[in-house]
């Protein structure tokens, strides 16, 4: 029974929400979510790669021989990641400096390879793109949410993009920044809290 495009799209936003529901792709989730802007940038980059690889894998699914499919997926994904890396260097250099090694590491993000293998290789182009968009946007929202939580707790501020930023001190004058939240151990604690909340809601 084929699902509608809308179902393919929305499943990534809640039912199969990558980091929080499937608990997949945690390396960038823990690594880059020190600020909202980093999380958003990483999410958009991953979404682009995901859409590109799902589209191509789905288009070529008749041509790719099953025994070398993983190698083919990796070539396609690696090509898209390198394109993203070059584009980020050319247009958003400060963000590229902050995300650093995590951009090339999208290659080994299990979400991207997972969607290619589990979905795009078996489904037609339109549903594959819908699936990629849903999962990608879900991933982006999750990273941004975790990033803003950590930035709010750790720095007491929230930078939406560029110079557009808000300070929590303006709202709650007695707020003390909790630097722990922006450090590596804080990432685990914040992720744990998020998983706990998501699981409570999902029950």
């Amino acid at each position: 029974m084929a699902k509608t495009l809308k179902q393919e799209f929305t499943k990534g936003l809640w039912k199969d929400l990558p980091p929080f529901r499937l608990v997949l792709g945690l390396c960038p989730v823990l690594g880059v979510t020190t600020t909202m802007e980093n999380g958003l940038g990483m999410g958009v980059a991953t979404t682009f790669v995901l859409c590109g690889s799902n589209l191509l894998v789905s288009l070529l699914r008749q041509a790719i021989p099953p025994r070398v499919r993983i190698a083919c997926f990796v070539i396609i994904i690696a090509a898209f990641v390198t394109v993203v890396e070059l584009l980020m260097q050319a247009y958003t250099y400060p963000l590229y400096l902050k995300l650093g090694v995590f951009i090339p590491l999208i290659v080994v993000n299990c979400i991207v390879l997972g969607r290619a293998e589990a979905f795009a290789y078996k489904n037609k182009v339109s549903s594959s793109v819908a699936d990629a968009l849903g999962i990608g946007i879900g991933f982006t929202l999750s990273l941004s949410l975790l990033g803003s939580l950590r930035e709010l707790l750790g720095n007491g501020s929230l930078t939406i993009w560029g110079d557009l930023s808000y300070s929590i001190i303006d709202v709650v004058p007695s707020f003390q920044p909790f630097t722990f939240a922006t450090q590596a151990p804080g990432a685990f604690v914040c992720l744990g809290l998020m998983l706990c909340i998501i699981n409570l809601i999902g029950k």
Partner: protein, 193 residues
């Protein structure tokens, strides 16, 4: 046999197309990436070295070919009427190449200032080479004929404690810059005037 051929053809084809696309994107973005690096990596280094110049060194630069290498040389006009040049050299550090922008006052033939541009050294140890003033200020004012080396190697530069390899790499880059300056002195003089 048939399947083997098909696998080979598909993989080779995919890899070829991917390679072609990447080459196109790379050459398409190369100029913009160079401009961005100038703005965000070399720019701050130049500005910290040539803070007191009357012109904008980032706009007054020229390409100098040394052997097969192309080097960008930045020119700053000093308030005293003299000229300073700055260019980047690399030394081999603990975690990869360290780029050092070296500014030389052509009037007094001394080092105007140095600044680390790119590095991948250990945070808290080697990474200090970028911002630790007690280390970086040691190079300022040295004559271009000086031998730049850390004290362990018989030089006059106190290495950052715990980061001798990094300190050596910075010295190596600066020593190379001085050597190159002396070698190209006549060329530089001609271009600047």
């Amino acid at each position: 046999m048939n399947e083997l051929v098909r696998m080979t053809v598909v993989l080779t084809g995919l890899a070829t197309i991917a390679g072609g696309v990447l080459a196109a994107v790379h050459s398409g973005t190369a100029d913009r990436i160079a401009a961005q690096q100038l703005e965000y990596v070399k720019g701050p280094a130049i500005r910290s070295i040539m803070a007191a110049t009357t012109n904008n060194p980032l706009e007054d630069s020229f390409q100098l070919s040394i052997g097969e290498e192309e080097k960008t040389v930045f020119i700053g006009s000093l308030a005293s009427g003299g000229t300073a040049v700055a260019f980047e050299e690399f030394g081999r550090g603990f975690g990869g190449d360290i780029g050092v922008m070296v500014g030389i006052n052509m009037e007094t033939e001394t080092i105007l200032g140095t600044a680390v541009t790119v590095h991948s050294e250990t945070p808290g140890l080697g990474a200090k080479a970028k911002n630790d003033r007690s280390f970086t200020s040691q190079f300022e004012g040295l004559p271009v004929s000086a031998t730049v080396a850390v004290t362990q190697d018989g030089g006059q530069i106190d290495a950052i404690s715990g980061a001798t390899t990094t300190s050596r790499a910075v010295c190596e880059a600066i020593a190379q810059a001085l050597e190159r300056y002396q070698m190209l002195h006549a060329d530089l003089q001609k271009t600047v005037n």
